[in-house]
């Protein structure tokens, strides 16, 4: 239980086509992350899966059954929103129990599930409080708890961490990962943050402007991006893109990740001047203005002392250099 299939789903708001034909299969128990820049249609796709938005065409199947005309409450899904969306007039306990109550679940069963979920999310001390009396992190945990008690076939998360501060984000991310491992449930998670995508996903779906650019495991996307968009989106700092003509290459664009460049003070492929250096302790980011390649970012592990203005030579790792054609696709 808990598989999802999307067949050629399109969605238009008036004349604006937001989803331009999405095909996707999600297996039972998978953690799938939709990632892409803001406004690319991730939330719209999630809302179509949830039934909060009708697709213009195409089919959504949950466990093999077409749910295109099933209301959200009957689809066996639960959703966690970016803004928590807790009911302000209900206590934490009633927030979690409302969905089950609406579905006519016996009170004892509701009680039992709330107990399990609140223990899982360390929410027991707050069960009688109202959302206004909780911190942001606690509110988001309540929202996750509200999803857990429904025991859905499919969990849907829409940027659940973007309203939390950085430290809390890491904690909650961990909590969601553990939750997935414990429940073995199918989860679909939307984010614009590629770090969240890489750390959580079994399978990442990269979306751009209403289309799927690539589907794959985090390492597949990192090691074998299908095109320039995915290559630039996955990985931080961003991949360097260099005009092929400048390097005397036949490919339109040459891509090399900052961590796949080495520097040397004496010799190397590209001679450059240090523009700026970022010292992060664990690694150092150097920005070099190279004679052939233009401005490139180099990531060096550990501490590396380089003053702006110094001359350095950068050399790309030939085995980890990507070549893109005029259409942005990787050339083999």
């Amino acid at each position: 239980m808990g598989s999802l299939k999307i067949e050629n789903v399109k969605k238009a708001f008036g004349p604006v086509e937001v989803l331009k034909g999405i095909d996707l299969a999600v297996n039972n128990g998978e953690f799938v992350v939709f990632v892409g820049p803001s406004g690319c249609g991730k939330s719209t796709l999630l809302r179509v899966i949830a039934g909060l938005e009708d697709s213009t065409s195409g089919r959504v199947l949950i466990d093999g059954a077409d749910v295109s005309v099933t209301p959200p409450a009957k689809r066996g899904i639960a959703m966690v929103f970016q803004t928590y969306a807790l009911y302000p007039h209900l206590t934490v306990k009633n927030n979690m129990g409302l969905g089950l109550k609406q579905a006519g679940t016996p009170a004892a069963e509701i009680e039992r599930r709330i107990k399990i979920a609140s223990a899982m999310l360390s929410l027991e001390p707050y069960l009688e409080r109202r959302p206004a009396e909780l911190s942001g992190g606690q509110r988001q945990r309540v929202a996750i708890g509200r999803a857990v008690v429904r025991e859905p076939k499919l969990f849907l998360f829409d940027e659940p961490l973007s309203n939390l501060d950085a430290a809390l984000r890491v904690n909650t991310r961990l909590e969601i990962a553990q939750l997935h491992r414990r429940l073995k449930a199918t989860m679909i998670y939307v984010t614009h943050d590629q770090v969240e995508a890489m750390t959580l996903a079994d399978k990442i779906v990269v979306l751009n402007a209403g289309r799927i650019e690539q589907i794959g495991s985090p390492m597949e996307l990192y090691n074998a991006p299908a095109n320039e968009f995915v290559a630039g989106f996955i990985g931080s700092p961003k991949m360097n893109f260099i005009d092929g003509a400048k390097l005397g290459e036949t490919a339109k664009t040459i891509g090399v990740r900052p961590e796949h460049l080495t520097v040397d003070t004496k010799s190397g492929a590209w001679k450059g001047t240090v523009v700026h250096a970022e010292h992060l302790g664990a690694d150092t980011n150097l920005y070099l203005d190279c004679d052939k390649a233009g401005l490139v970012t180099v990531r060096i592990f550990g501490v590396y002392n380089a003053e702006p203005g110094a001359t350095l030579y950068a050399t790309p790792d030939a085995a980890k250099t990507y070549r893109f054609g005029a259409d942005g696709r990787v050339l083999k």
Binding site: L52, P71, K74, M79, T83, A85, Y87, G99, Q102, A132
Partner: protein
Amino acid sequence: MSTATHSLPRTIGAHAVLLTYTAIALFPVILVILNSFKSRAGIFGAPLTPPTPKTFDLIGYTTVIGQGDFIHYFQNSLVVTVASLFFVLLFGAMAAFALSEYRFRGNTMMGLYLALGIMIPIRLGTVAILQLMVATGLVNTLTALILVYTAQGLPLAIFILSEFMKQVSDDLKNAGRIDGLSEYTIFFRLVLPLVRPSMATVAVFTMIPIWNDLWFPLILAPSEETKTVTLGAQLFLGQFVTNWNAILAALSLAILPVLILYVIFSRQLIRGITSGAVK
């Protein structure tokens, strides 16, 4: 204590302006109330002075209360105002929710059509309304007034409320839908409490013109049974003699109910504003 935003001269200046405005705005009201406690001679002899032991007289109030019907007029006014207010808020909020929440063909046109009433005074339609009421046999009933005032109040209510309803979080409504709440429950339990401050604003704006209206009671419901306070007070306004004591007393009394309603709503207003401030 002189900071960038609080300087003493500026504070004094702002307060001076506000106090002057308050004095100007309240002057006629206070004058009415003061004079309502004076004898006829007192009112005309020294209209601007407060009642002294010599001029103090409750004759106005005894006349008004003694004229048994007046309590009844009050009742009529209150029924009409409260009922109209109820319907304006209910239907206004529901229409506003539909306009702001659902995408349907003609949504924008419908919004414009409903807002048109703000610009076109309902009194232009008096003749047609009267014919309608005669035809339906509603002349000289409070129902007639309630219907007209509901229609009169709706455009502004819909206009203001739909702006506020657009700001209610979509996520919250969607969370309700996923939990299986009906659209009515979402509207009454989730959305309405969040737009309570704007409901209070609309209530205040709607209530005062209804309470004060003389036009429609005079035309649609002038019978003894259905007279409202404003119409009842005309009783003392004779062609030859005017009972000023009674008129001033009636007007002073007429302020009370609106004042009470206003206090109730403004409480809501302040509570709503402060509770909405924290996310």
